[in-house]
């Protein structure tokens, strides 16, 4: 009998291995899909409840969907999300809307309203990098029209889904203004460039002037400018006709929500000082959208509070705003969830973990939004000996 050729000896083993590999591969779970559900609606007793999301950098679509499901289940009617210009128009006139579309369709599917924040300048619209260092927040004056064209295109594409559009973010910080000295007049020119084209593209659009960073930086500081001074400067430069609503950022830091506002203090009610400036310039009727707010409970951050205080302050802030601020349209908490932990104090601003575990503050906001906890106590009295 002829001896087996080595290939003949090993062939059955190879075949068995291939069959095993095929079986194991077939058993591997498919990547999660994110099919649209039947259209949902938000059940809430407090429609002003809103949360800022961080969805644009999420890789998996199912995570976007899950995040938005949890927003709806929490009873929030609205999200604020960042839509970076550089993502959608990497080359002038060439658009890629995919990452924006998937957020829009899932938000709509969950019955959520979206406030879109615009920013992040593509390289082609920034100043020549060989002449001077630029950043992703650097938009030179001669690119305002290009930015306006992009925002108008966005407004037309997402009309009826994303009608509220925030123009830029915290322009009173040098960092957010491309590491240049902040310039309220320049920002008014940006608003002016955007306002008419966007309304022409979507007559229902609501242009929100950028929220200002709560800061006490004095005039001439290289870091930025006090938000009260900046807002005054905006009105003095004639900004009023070029925005339909004002976005605000108001954090509580270490003070409770009821703490008295002062021009030299940063606390939740600083929003009242900003609104007083609107009234001073005969503009109090414009709605205010607080697009970032909240408290932090990181044990090592000097501007943080205890976990129990964070929950209590947040719920009381909603109650305060609803009772005292008729000019306020939405109060959005920063932030629902980060795609991954930052391993620092910012993690302690979130309401759910990266793996979608709801934290106690999520449940407390849910109880408030859905009307389950009116007057209810959050914790027990101290034990008596």
């Amino acid at each position: 009998m002829r001896p087996f050729h080595p290939i003949q000896r090993f062939l059955p083993h190879v075949v068995r291995l291939l069959v095993c590999w095929g079986c194991l591969t077939a058993l591997m779970p498919a990547p999660p899909r994110a099919p649209l559900e039947s259209p949902r609606t938000v059940h809430t007793q407090n429609p002003e409840v809103c949360v800022h999301t961080r969805l644009i950098d999420e890789v998996y679509e199912w995570k976007i969907q899950r995040s938005l499901q949890m927003v709806r289940e929490m009873g929030a009617t609205t999200i604020v999300e960042f839509f970076p210009w550089a993502y959608a128009e990497p080359q002038e006139g060439e658009y890629d809307w995919e990452s924006f579309d998937r957020i829009a369709r899932h938000a709509k599917n969950q019955g959520l309203q979206v406030i879109a924040r615009m920013g992040l300048v593509p390289a082609w619209a920034r100043a020549d990098g060989s002449e001077r260092a630029t950043t992703l927040n650097y938009l030179p004056d001669d690119s305002f029209d290009a930015f306006a064209t992009f925002v108008a295109t966005f407004a037309a594409r997402y009309a009826g889904v994303m009608d509220h559009i925030i123009i830029w973010n915290e322009p009173n910080l040098s960092f957010e203004w491309g590491y240049r000295p902040v310039d309220p007049q320049d920002y008014v020119r940006m608003l002016k460039a955007v306002y008419q084209p966007v309304h022409a593209a979507n007559p229902q659009a609501v242009i929100l002037a950028a929220p200002l960073a709560p800061t006490l930086e004095p005039t001439g500081s290289p870091n930025g400018l006090d938000d009260l001074l900046y807002l005054e400067a905006l009105y003095a430069a004639g900004a009023a006709p070029y925005f339909d609503a004002l976005a605000m950022h108001t954090y509580g830091f270490t003070e409770p929500p009821e703490a008295e506002p002062e021009s030299t203090a940063l606390n939740f009610r600083r929003a009242e000082l900003l609104h007083a400036i609107m009234a001073e310039y005969d503009d109090p009727q414009k709605p205010v959208f607080i697009t970032e707010s909240g408290w932090n409970d990181h044990p090592r951050w000097t501007k943080a509070v205890r976990p129990s205080e964070r929950v209590a302050y947040t719920v009381r802030a909603f109650e305060w705003a609803k009772a005292e601020w008729p000019w306020m349209d939405r109060l959005c908490v920063w932030a629902l969830r980060y795609p991954a932990n930052t391993r620092g104090y910012p993690d302690n601003f979130t309401l759910i973990t990266p793996d979608f575990q709801a934290t106690p503050i999520y449940y407390a906001i849910q109880a408030y939004a859905r009307g389950w906890s009116q007057g209810g106590r959050l914790w027990l009295d101290p034990p008596a000996p």
Binding site: R300, W301, T302, R306, P307, S308, R310, R343, W379, L380
Partner: protein
């Protein structure tokens, strides 16, 4: 050739076994010697400035607190002990928590000893030593309570600080085991009071709060067990391999000889 006698064979076997034993002992010694993380360079070379600059955030008692120009706390004692063993003076550089890693990266300090949770996601830039403290959640109960861990809480009651990690973990365990009563309080101390006063069966709090409470209530016969880990370590720059070997070796020695536990016992 004549066959070796029985005595010669035994002698040869004896010599062979003895040689093998010495070889094994020698190998073990060599392995042990090699495993000790000792600096292959002198302390002077490790610290060209002639001093070990320690980055610390002195706003987190009992690990580090500042009073005037003085710093004290567990991390301060640990830093001094490491300096002593390296035979190098120490200099503490007090800064905010957010600036710690940047100051190390920019070589303003040589090491960070500041109750830093070991974070392997930073391993591209930093190396961490063995942990010297576990600040994770602990379950504290009366010494005579038949509760060994979270899985024994079914049908009992557990207190915690509302909104804390203890609250989060308790909610998660409610979905895993037989229902138990949750008792949220405003602070960890109130949660622990509830156990000490017999209102709750156990408290779920962070190890720092728990151990400080037990220190303040030495009359209470309680015991605690770890529920999860938040491990604190000393951080050095990733490219400072020799320094890491030196500090890590000292931490290991301090863990083995009990001197680390003595420092911890001083503050907890």
């Amino acid at each position: 050739m004549a066959r070796p006698t029985r005595a010669v064979r035994w002698a040869a076997l004896w010599m062979g076994v003895t040689a093998a034993v010495w070889l094994v002992v020698g190998l073990l010694l060599a392995v042990r010697w090699g495993s000790i993380e000792r600096p292959s360079v002198s302390s002077r070379t490790l610290f060209p400035n002639g001093v070990m600059r320690i980055g610390i955030d002195a706003s987190f008692p009992p690990f580090a607190v500042a009073t005037g120009d003085d710093l004290y706390g567990l991390d301060v004692d640990l830093g001094k002990a490491i300096g002593l063993r390296l035979q190098i003076p120490t200099q503490f550089v007090n800064m905010g928590y957010d600036g710690l890693y940047d100051s190390l990266l920019s070589e303003q300090v040589d090491v960070l000893i500041s109750a830093l949770p070991i974070d392997y996601s930073r391993s591209r830039d930093f190396r961490f030593t063995l942990p010297y403290f576990n600040a994770g959640l602990v379950l504290i109960r009366d010494a005579d309570q038949p509760i060994e861990g979270m899985e024994d809480l079914g049908g009992r009651s557990v207190s915690f600080e509302f909104g804390s990690d203890g609250d989060l973990v308790a909610r998660a365990w409610l979905r895993r085991i037989r229902a138990f009563e949750t008792r949220p309080y405003e602070t960890p101390d109130y949660a622990l009071d509830a156990v000490r006063l017999g209102i709750s069966d156990a408290a779920l709090v962070d190890a720092v709060s728990g151990r400080l409470y037990l220190r303040a209530h030495r009359e209470w016969e309680a015991r605690y067990s770890s529920v999860n880990d938040v491990l604190y370590g000393v951080a050095v720059r990733a490219d400072d391999r020799e320094l890491w070997r030196a500090v890590n070796g000292i931490i290991r020695t301090m863990l083995e000889d009990g001197s680390l536990e003595s420092i911890i016992a001083r503050w907890f």
